[in-house]
Amino acid sequence: MALDERKMTATEARLAAMQVPEVGCTKEAREAALERVRRMGLPGRRDEYWKYTRPDSLVQVAAPRAAVFDAGEEPMFSAFDRLRVVFVDGVFSPELSDDLSLEGVQIDRLEDICCTNDHWAEDLYGVLEARGQSPVERPLAALNTAYAGDGVAIRVTGRVSKPINLTYVHKSEQSDVLLHHVIRVEPGAEATILENGPAAARFNKCMEIDIADGGRLHLVRAQGRDHERRAYTSLFARLGAKATFKSFTLTVNGVLTRNEAVVEFTGGDAVAHVAGACAGDGNFHHDDTVFITHDAVGCESRQVFKKVLRNGATGVFQGKILVKEGAQKTDGYQISQSLLLDEDSQFFAKPELEIYADDVACSHGSTSGAIDEEALFYLRSRGVPAAEAQDLLTLAFIAEAVDEIEDKAIAEDILGRVQGWLARRR
């Protein structure tokens, strides 16, 4: 179908303002991606997939300004021994980063993917993103593949002894950043990747993750606390047999966030959990869009999303489980819940199941509710002040999603942070 004119104009305007960078040996992939963008057009307000989230500010030529927020606290995950890979406004910073050599993993910048060295990442860059364009189009991810200025290629070959921490520092009020990472987990290998920071005034991040048979990847991210920042992130994961992928995302603040996760099972008995918790106050719009494709026997997928909203904040959840023919013994679970702390806040949920196999167990649920008044009174009757009682209940609500993180020390660290933030906002 030809693009409508408005969309084409918007798309071309954006493309005209950008330049495909020459980074490593990704030229062909970038050209192909650019073609995809032109064919699909960038998202418009009338797109079904963008029904609850306005894409305008993500699409428009200039990134809206976003003040840099100093939280006045230790950076996230600083309590843990980790390998730091730091980007400042989207540019890798060797000074702020650790030495990238670590046993069991090979970390290269995108620019190191040279045509001469037959780099493994050449076969991955843009590949999973392209696969993920069907059945639903994700033009902003293709835009990323075409224009990403920096990023890393991470190849996990063994059991990595400490987490790899990608930190995204936001320094300029006008930064407009596209980062693209490719990750390959070799058979039986295992790693944890932590991500934190707001990254930019406008951030478009794409992560392609290929997990071979028996590989395991844990991804925990915290999207920074800058109030005005905007982010569109996409994550494409492909899992081989008996592979494991677990991801958790914490979002507090940010005027606009859309996190897309596209997961595909290609080998049997694999497990993928995608979870997230967000807390928004006021001018806050948070969208979790998940698409899980079961194309193998005996795989387990689990989505757990929690949103705490107040003062007119908006939450969106679009989650789909597609079970293809033959994907028997699929176990698919999905829950999305919002806690609305006042009547101005809103939550839109669109849970979907599409199943073409007969021997599967899939369930989904979505709820939206206020704070439990009975529980609140019970706590207060024991002497807990109202605000503190509300925080305790809010934290308990979020904890169910944070619990999805396998590393309990990291989970506790995150809950502790959230507790502190809640207390300070009172």
């Binding site: 439990d372 008044e373 009975e374 529980a375 009174f377 019970y378 706590l379 207060r380 009757s381 024991r382 002497g383 807990v384 002040p385 109202a386 503190e388 009682a389 305790l392 209940l393 934290l395 308990a396 609500f397 904890a399 169910e400």
Partner: protein, 251 residues
Amino acid sequence: MLEIKNLHVKLEEEDKQILKGVNLTVEPGRVHAIMGPNGSGKSTLSYVLAGRDGYEVTEGSATLDGKDLLEMEPEERAAAGIFLAFQYPVEIPGVGNMTFLRTAVNAQRKARGQKELSAADFLKLVREKAKTLKIDADMLKRPVNVGFSGGEKKRNEILQMAMLEPRMCILDETDSGLDVDAMKLVAEGVNALRSPDRGFLVITHYQRLLDHIQPDVVHIMADGRIVKTGGPELALEVEHNGYADILAEVQ
């Protein structure tokens, strides 16, 4: 200590008068029992004293040591010394029982200008009190009241009471749903707290709890009023003859 005078209460949402002039004074060191048929307003009285939403006091007063309870937030009442053991303890998924207890104890200490308990001191205290109530480590770890049996919930209420050491304990049908052994445990827990400066208001439908917790005064409540007051023998009278005789007599 606790003084309730001519207390009239209606529901906030509808035009329904529930308490129609309750008068009651509990002195320190004394145990008062309130008995009465279902629907007579016993739980309403306890909720109004604890500060639950949804009720409107249209007349009368309730004070603790001379301080107006009705003006206070629920947490202020708790800090002042009111404790209500709920007829139906509330389940709070996601909040560990231990966290709940520690938060409550420390919140009250803070409100009274005392130092918070250290983690070690708190743990020691909670273990000691839990043991006498036969509350095991697992129950302390689980989310508040979630998946607890009826008896476990009631014992958990008494544990909270023991930890918070309130001045004025109100127990709303703490005996309901308990078997004989659990009832004994609960009664022992309550009796252990009896002291010259603490008052008790024990609400019960049946006499049997009062075999274990000896009351000093027994009140009969009917249709939003206290219609008769007497000694422990009044409870026995109810036990033998039911409420019908007493109600007929006062009418």
